[in-house]
């Protein structure tokens, strides 16, 4: 038996399909056994990655696509979001984004730039590859059940 099942969807890089991808992610995450909160985290992180493609990948033409691939393991899900558009420098962008602070001047508050920060906060691992296009790899582990099983094994 294969170690994981792989499911892929390819949609036009248009904003109206971001919610469709969320539906797919929540359906698959239920199969893996994630909790309600974890599924919400997965939906947000994936939406952020897809939204980035919709906004930044295809500046010139309107005809780009975004590919979302999900590998379902027993205890984790790996999500890959990929485009063939414009690459960007992840580290450089990362250095400019992040949470707000109380002492921030209201007038200077950023109205964007939280997407990558949320992806990194809500997922266990986020990697980025920008050769040719941009591919985001994200991993999230199932937490609750694993701990429970482990505890039971120790006590018996």
């Amino acid at each position: 038996m294969k170690a994981f099942d792989y499911i892929e969807i390819r949609v036009p890089a248009k904003s109206q399909y971001v919610s469709v991808i969320r539906l797919m992610i929540s359906g698959l995450a239920v199969r893996v056994g994630f909790s309600y909160d974890e599924i919400e985290d997965l939906k947000i992180a994936t939406s952020e990655a897809v939204t980035n493609v919709v906004h930044h990948a295809y500046k010139e033409s309107d005809e780009g696509e975004v590919v979302v691939g999900c590998a379902l393991f027993e205890d984790k899900i790996e999500i890959m979001v990929s485009d063939y558009g414009v690459s960007f420098n992840f580290e450089e962008i990362k250095s400019k984004v992040g949470p707000y602070h109380e002492e921030d001047n209201v007038e200077l508050l950023r109205e964007g730039g939280l997407g990558i920060y949320l992806m990194e906060t809500l997922m266990d691992e986020v990697k980025m590859n920008n050769e040719g296009g941009v591919t985001v790899f994200m991993t999230k582990y199932v937490t609750k059940e694993q701990v429970k099983e482990y505890v039971e094994r120790i006590t018996t």
């Binding site: 904003s15 109206q16 971001v18 919610s19 969320r22 909160d37 919400e40 939906k43 947000i44 939406s47 952020e48 939204t51 919709v54 906004h55 949470p99 707000y100 602070h101 109380e102 921030d104 209201v106 007038e107 508050l109 950023r110 109205e111 964007g112 730039g113 939280l114 997407g115 920060y117 949320l118 906060t121």
Partner: protein, 111 residues
């Protein structure tokens, strides 16, 4: 999937009820609705988010923009009825330190 906003004047408070999912597709509707709100000095603005069932960074950005707008006019903004999910997002992004937010815990107790 959609987002719906309705405003009601209630004495010195302008109450906005937001319902639905806020993402990059629905964001323009919400942004326009909030842009159109008349900000009057001395009148508070309250946004009820108890029926918001999805929000990501695009939506948070809209609230940041709106917060800037009302602050410029010297008007107080409160976000009320936040689910624990929404509170968590406002906390991890640091927005809860800046903006006044209130949970829907009281609403839950009544039910």
């Amino acid at each position: 999937m959609n987002v719906n906003v309705q405003f009601r004047e209630d004495g010195n408070v302008m109450r906005g009820y937001i319902e639905g999912e806020i993402d990059t597709f629905t964001a323009p509707v919400l942004r326009d609705e909030l842009e159109a709100v008349q900000i009057v000095e001395g009148r508070r603005v309250e946004l009820d988010l108890s029926k918001v069932n999805y929000i990501d960074s695009t939506g948070l950005g809209i609230f940041v923009a709106f917060y800037k707008k009302v602050t410029r006019e010297n008007v107080q903004l409160r976000l009320v009825g936040l689910s624990s999910r929404l509170v968590r997002l406002f906390e991890i992004t640091g927005l809860s330190e800046l903006m006044s937010i209130e949970t829907d815990a009281e609403v839950e107790l009544k039910q």
